[in-house]
Point group: C2
Chain length 218, copies 2
Amino acid sequence: MGIQRRPLREQIREELLLRLDRGDFAAGKDINEVVLAGELGVSRTPLREALITLAGEGVLESNQGRGFRFAPVSSKEFRDLCEIVAGLESLALELSDPAELQEMAPELLRLARDFPDPVAEQSEIEWHDDEWHDLLLGRCPNERLLDLVTSVKAGMRRYTHLIAGEDTLLEREAEEHCRIAEHLRAGDVAAATAALRDNWISGMERMTSRIPVSPESA
Amino acid sequence: MGIQRRPLREQIREELLLRLDRGDFAAGKDINEVVLAGELGVSRTPLREALITLAGEGVLESNQGRGFRFAPVSSKEFRDLCEIVAGLESLALELSDPAELQEMAPELLRLARDFPDPVAEQSEIEWHDDEWHDLLLGRCPNERLLDLVTSVKAGMRRYTHLIAGEDTLLEREAEEHCRIAEHLRAGDVAAATAALRDNWISGMERMTSRIPVSPESA
DNA sequence: TTCATGTATTCTGTATTCATAATTCAAGGT
DNA sequence: ACCTTGAATTATGAATACAGAATACATGAA
């Protein structure tokens, strides 16, 4: 094992995203830096650095003099994010080597069928889903594109915990992953790309009804 | 006029991008925070905040214990960035209302023909080009997408000053803008999207020979 | 001469302190 | 009763201080 020596700001960022997944933070709620820094056991400096990073990713908003707040959720923004990720992941697939995609198709199919039990931990399900997408895109030679996908997906984390515990949605997700993998196995990248787009668009529609109306309208 | 009260970190970020356009910084060169903060007349705190933001946008790299450095340029990365921007701008165009696009086509055409003199300031040429693209995409309802485009383009600023002073390139750029605008005027968004993609891809090819070999290979 | 090792210096990463903008609350006036 | 105004409080934005890692340098041994 290697001794991990990473900047606090990165560890803090990840911890905050984890808490976001757990639904710890009320969207739209202002963040008190002193209190949060105390909870995390760090000083305000690296905390603020993490907050600034997250603001850049769209997870937080910052207003002059009023500090940071978790950006309120809205179905509009969620749809926007889905469109972006759909576009980016499709692009990544198009830029990948078709031969390599075909090569890893069986593995993708296996993983898609091996979807975790609906009773499994929510976090495990999400991890499995991320894993699948990461494997799918991993061969894309455009590294910046992959980084960008990761960053945009971080901005979607505010929404993922809203979908918790819907068995039918899970099954459909697994189904769609299978379909994508089968297209790849058949060597039809264009069809796989289209299916991937559908995967995000349908996910968007499935989710959109579950997003509470913006508490901003008050 | 309103009194401007913006965080120092934002002003610093812009100043650094400006200096980048001027080619002030040697790519790959380490940044000395104390020296740079002194030059800018600010303390290290807001400077570091700006550096972290720029690192998130891919303009800078950060290594634990060694601070920040301007990410070295490489034709590989430039191609990656062009692919991304081509994809994002195309997507933005597809998501825009075709009717509105057609409506503003004449304005786009006018601006494209009104390209600045080749003898004009490099900064003015770049400004004009950005302006054109901003106008083209401005009607896209996906705000997050537009923010993302802006952010990715910031990461390309390390490359723009390399193209300075090439008349033929300028002419071709203007030509391509005209073609895109004409497709829009004809109501053919698909053709305009394809032309926009070509605009970035050809820009990539025009530029790629001018990028010095990575000083990293040493 | 060259390589290794110990030491000094430099600079980053983090904590702490300070100044000022924003908010809250209470008192006074309409 | 309600609105305005101003003081007190709170929290952010920025500057400074501090500790430790990384680098450079010099000294000594092979």
